[in-house]
Symmetry: C2
């Protein structure tokens, strides 16, 4: 009660909610992880309000969790210790577009699609595309990436500055507007991917790119996943600057066809995209065709018009939803390892065998140009045996990756699901992370138990 | 004496030096900053030895400074509190090349040119090119960049993993071999650019690239710096993926011609390079020619053969040495600000005026595609009035950049010279940096007084 009173001194009543439906909306994400209610949901409108909220939380020792749109796949923002949930919905303004500088300044609640629409007016686009229409604040918190990262980098590469409210209420900037800097320690990199454990983001300055003069997209069909992966490696080796290269297995194409009403051939497929000038692309594509043919590509179909390209990428992005739609009542456990590319074929083969022997339905999609792939495992969260089997598959996949210099999470973040692998993956470097966490958030109130569990 | 005894238990006598000449060799860098002797110079051969050295330093509270080749331009490794200097000369092995993964593992004493030679055998190259033949360990410590960063990124973008000996002697890895990761806090980014203040690097895993199929280089001559800068902005706006675009002013071309025996037209010039496939480059170059002509380019001369391209970039890289050679007895104070590109023309104009009114000799060269430029100010370090004038020019240039969202150092690092701007540039974020420093190096023994001065 004391906390509610204190909060109502900061925000008007209508922006402080303990309504059960609202609490419930903020209790879960898109993952299989167990929901948990926050005690109160707040809707601040600016950094100053966030700072005041945080100071109250600090004084009364109440946990603080940030909420964008709840698209996490690892329970990153499930408030499993209750406390204050800060919802950034009302901080959704595109503050400034600086086309000459290829920069945009946004509030954390701006969504990817909202930004895309605005930038198009300037001939610009923001390249990080995790599929879901997440908020930019959430994407930065998770260090999201996606289909275009093979060319344009991940979230961390495209954040130039963050305005952050620290656990003590201080408002800092982690970067600047320059394209590069060797000044001070790299706080941008530290805060991106910290999943709300070190502070709340209240503004982001992002690097944007010119919409490419010309782009081409197509599907290359293979008779085996092995051949498809081998083709990707050959294309990368040849130095062809692909903008996207995605693996979609037979199973997943089938789900996509059913959901997106496409009629793609139901075989292991690579979805390609190329950006550049017309003459350059023609040469790149001719070369790519040659290479994938040598790796056993049976058919390479290009989408010639904008509508076809749009359909192709929507279909790819909807793969996860296609599985959910096709399997009512089930939830998804999505694996997310990333390995050095030379280890990818072996990893996928091992994963496929693990899924098959588990008896679970599971499809493979992946940002294979980065060595990152996902198994979309369909599970009934009420069925303990199924959940255990799925966990075993996930475990096997992670251990395979860690033994080969990979990471337990390429882009979904640690959240709850990858907590248990942090010590194994980082070794004594985890102590350094814990020390940093303890320094910046000494009371451990910011998204407690996530990323660095102080007990690990 | 106690420290020497302890060190001689770790290393054989010939790798522990207190010889005055050796101390003197490790007392300065390539900058104008005042030299200072270390007490002892050590030559370890592996991380284990470094860890043991560091533990002794910790116990006896002696400063520890790392030394690569001494090419810093900001006094980063001048041991101005004396103590132990760790020279990484003997740790100069290329441990592993993984061509399929576009990765190379090196010891910190490997130099850029040494690496380039080895990678060429695999059709690969490491893109970060600060000009000097620095060590990779030093380049990572400073977060170096250079002419190719506009396309391939800076040091921080190309470090996949570091083996670091922490101030307490623990050996950690800051990353992994995967192309991306959302696991844990981003220690790679934190340690790159920390200038030896958080630990010693004992191994680096770096991202490498395929040598481009085709490359073209040329010089575009302008009648004013303003026009040259305007041309760069237009080329970037048009989305042409230049691999390098360097501004060299009239003054600097004159020094280059004298030093490198070239006969380049002595006017403000842009040095361009393009990487890609032949057809794509032809289209890019045709488009670039059009754009620069609109911005007042008088002549665009392409180097058709490898020798011409090599000569061009050697001449550019030797610009700083050309000034030193042409002005015997003088040293260089090199400014290093980086600004959002829309502010670049104004910044350079302001800087040119500041130099002219100081009466000092000073030329402009710059990685203008990144918004980063240098004034090479020639100074007599024994002449206090000249030093003061140079400091005033540097100060004015930095303040101009900071007032416009820029940074005091784009690539040379903080060292001694940029210490005084840290509070102004980072505001309360500096407190976070200081807290991190205090956590990782609680006794403040690692390169004391650099990057984050605990008193600022």
């Amino acid at each position: 009660m004391k906390i509610l009173e204190a909060l109502k001194e900061i925000l008007p009543e209508e922006r402080v909610s303990t309504n059960h439906t609202v609490l419930e909306q903020h209790s879960s994400d898109e993952s299989y992880h167990t929901p948990h209610l926050p005690d109160v949901v707040l809707f601040p409108e600016n950094a100053e309000e966030v700072s005041r909220i945080v100071k109250v939380a600090d004084k009364l020792e109440v946990p603080v969790v940030s909420y964008g749109l709840g698209t996490s796949l690892e329970g990153s923002m499930i408030p499993h210790k209750g406390g204050i949930m800060i919802d950034f919905t009302l901080m959704n303004k595109i503050v400034e577009v600086r086309p000459e500088d290829f920069l945009v300044r946004v509030q954390p609640g701006v969504t990817r699609v909202q930004l895309e629409k605005e930038l198009r007016k300037y001939g610009l686009f923001f390249p990080v595309d995790p599929g879901a229409d997440a908020t930019l604040g959430g994407m930065a918190a998770t260090n999201a990436s996606g289909t275009t990262s093979v060319k344009y980098g991940i979230m961390r590469d495209n954040v130039r500055d963050l305005e952050v409210v620290l656990p003590n209420g201080t408002i800092i900037h982690t970067g600047n507007l320059a394209a590069k800097s060797s000044s001070g320690y790299h706080l941008n990199g530290l805060f991106v991917g910290s999943e709300g454990t070190l502070g709340c983001f209240t503004e982001l300055t992002l690097k944007v790119h010119g919409i490419p003069e010309y782009s081409m997209a197509g599907r290359a069909a293979f008779d085996s996943i092995d051949n498809a992966v081998a083709a990707v490696i050959s294309v990368l080796q040849a130095g062809i600057p692909v903008a996207r290269v995605e693996l979609v297995d037979e199973q997943s194409i089938r789900q996509i066809n059913a959901f997106s009403e496409t009629d793609y051939k139901e075989v292991p497929t690579l979805f390609f995209e190329f950006h550049g000038n017309e003459a350059g692309l023609e040469q790149d594509i001719a070369f790519t065709k040659e290479i994938v043919k040598d790796s056993g590509c049976k058919e390479f179909v290009f989408e010639s018009d904008t509508a076809g390209k749009k359909r192709l990428w929507e279909a790819r992005h909807n793969a996860a939803y296609a599985y959910l739609h096709g399997n009512p009542g089930k939830k998804q456990m999505v694996t997310d390892v990333c390995l050095p590319i030379s280890e990818l074929a072996g990893a996928i083969k091992d994963a496929r065998e693990a899924v098959d022997s588990s008896g679970l339905l599971g499809g493979i999609v992946g940002h294979v140009g980065d060595g990152n792939y996902h198994i979309l495992l369909m599970v009934d969260t009420e069925n303990p045996m199924e959940m255990e089997k799925a966990s075993e598959v996930n475990e096997q996949i992670v251990q395979y990756a860690l033994a080969r210099g990979g990471t337990c999470t390429g882009e979904h973040g640690v959240g709850i699901g990858k907590q248990k692998y942090q010590r194994k993956e980082h070794g004594e470097a985890l102590d350094v992370m814990q020390a940093i966490k303890a320094t910046i958030d000494p009371r451990g109130l910011f998204n407690p138990g996530k990323v660095v569990d102080m007990k690990s």
